[in-house]
């Protein structure tokens, strides 16, 4: 009895995990929102609206790196439409280019993290890596 309860519980956990994964549109939106929040903080540092914090600055690049690793898998062919997605069809027409954009984003974020030693170097590095936002959105995102 107890064993079967465990099995059911285990199945439920597994099912929840599957369900959570089966909504890639929501998941990629959450990931992009995290990138946006990190960028907002970085912009505050860069503009001097918030005191620069070395650990938090590294945290920004970590968010970029993590999302760059995670994002390419969140665009399965089943998620072209729905959930108010602003994903452009080009993501699937040019899957190689889309993946390459994330490889570049991750590489740029890694380089930015290494190059950041103080606020001045953060400003330059942050400016370089955030250029990826617009260049990728230009091609792989529709207007909204």
């Amino acid at each position: 009895m107890i064993r079967s309860a465990f099995v059911v519980a285990g199945l439920l956990v597994g099912l929840t995990a599957v369900l959570a994964q089966s909504d890639p549109i929501a998941e990629r939106k959450t990931a992009m929102k995290a990138v946006g929040a990190a960028t907002g903080l970085g912009a505050k540092f860069a503009k001097g609206e918030e005191a620069y914090d070395a650990a938090k600055a590294q945290g920004i690049f970590k968010v970029y790196i993590d999302s760059a690793k995670k994002m390419p898998a969140l665009f399965p062919a089943t998620s072209k439409t729905g959930g108010e997605t602003t994903a452009a069809p080009k993501i699937w027409d040019d899957a190689a280019g889309f993946k390459a954009a994330f490889v570049k984003f991750e590489a740029d974020a890694t380089a930015a993290a290494a190059a950041t030693t103080d606020l001045a170097s953060f400003r330059t590095a942050f400016g370089n890596v955030t250029r990826n936002c617009g260049s990728c959105h230009e091609v792989y995102r529709i207007k909204r």
């Binding site: 946006g36 960028t39 907002g40 936002c133 617009g134 959105h137 230009e138 995102r141 207007k143």
Partner: protein, 310 residues
């Protein structure tokens, strides 16, 4: 019976004659000034080139040099596909042989040197607000760029849109050829912004919905609408709740500089190219554009099919 035939033929002739007269592309040249303009200011021309986003349509696709103005970009529309022409200073394939008057006629009246109407996919409907001196500056800047060989493919337009004369009728109905008039009741900054937004910036050309004949629906100017090029939705940039009501002047100027919205989303699609252009303007010009946009009354655009996005 015979009389009826004569009357009929007469009407046809009158109708055709009327069509030809009314759609005549002859230019009432706006400028006795053109011959008497000061030496062109190339720096100002460069600024207007950025503000006007010329390279976003006229740069040759498939290569990275935005100053290669060989043209060829396809622009989709409900009327067919347009191809942006070569506007490099190449004498045969571009506009290298043009004089200032040719350029002013094209930009302010939508008429080519050979006397044909341009389709309003080329936003002379907005560029007309630039005075001849500014246009001469812009032409002088374009002349400093590389001459590129080769012509863009012809437009792919079905009948009757393939007849350029038809554009003459369109102009009668929708083309207002008046130049920019500053509003003396408003600040200098506001007037600068109004000029940049409505003239070279031609923001309303995308950020407005259009009527069945492809003219901007003036009642909902700047209020966004479906993307005429295909998927997606062009945002409302009036002071409506769904528009820029919650944006500060500084936030609008920031978007035009870095492409970031107040919640640090980064604009995509063709607006990314616009930001590459507006990023080249001065902070003062971007703030002036924001000042003007903040003064636009709240206007609801066409309803969005799905519920509003984030």
């Amino acid at each position: 019976m015979r009389r009826l035939m004569v009357t009929f033929v007469l009407f046809v002739v009158l109708g055709l004659g009327g069509f030809l007269v009314l759609t005549d592309p002859r230019v009432v040249s706006p400028s006795p000034q053109i011959g008497a303009l000061d030496a062109p200011d190339v720096e100002n021309g460069k600024l207007l080139f950025a503000a006007g986003g010329c390279s976003s349509c006229h740069a040759r696709p498939g290569q990275d040099d935005k100053l290669n103005l060989g043209g060829g970009l396809a622009l989709g529309s409900p009327f067919g596909t347009f191809h942006a022409p070569n506007i490099s200073p190449h004498t045969r394939d571009g506009i290298g042989a043009w004089g200032v008057k040719d350029f002013v006629d094209a930009m302010a009246a939508g008429v080519s040197p050979s006397g044909q109407h341009y389709y309003p996919a080329f936003p002379y409907t907005s560029y007309r607000l630039m005075p001849p001196k500014a246009l001469a500056d812009l032409l002088a800047y374009i002349r400093t760029l590389a001459a590129v060989e080769g012509r863009a493919p012809a437009h792919e337009l079905p009948f009757p849109f393939n007849i350029r004369r038809v554009v003459g009728g369109w102009k009668l109905l929708f083309f207002d050829a008046t130049p920019f008039r500053p509003d003396p009741a408003k600040s200098e900054e506001w007037n600068r912004g109004a000029y940049l937004v409505n003239g070279p910036g031609h923001c309303a050309e995308c950020h407005s919905s259009r009527n069945g004949l492809g003219a901007i629906a003036q009642a909902t100017r700047f209020a966004g609408g479906p993307d005429p090029e295909g998927k997606g939705w062009v945002p409302n940039i009036t002071q409506a709740e769904s528009g820029l009501a919650k944006w500060s002047k500084g936030e609008i100027a920031e978007l035009l500089k870095s492409g970031f919205t107040p919640d640090y989303d980064s604009v995509g699609g063709t607006m990314a190219a616009v930001v590459r252009n507006t990023a080249q303007l001065s902070d003062a010009d971007r703030l002036a554009m924001a000042e003007y946009l903040k003064s636009l009354p709240a206007v609801q655009g066409p309803p969005r099919p799905a519920k509003a996005g984030s």
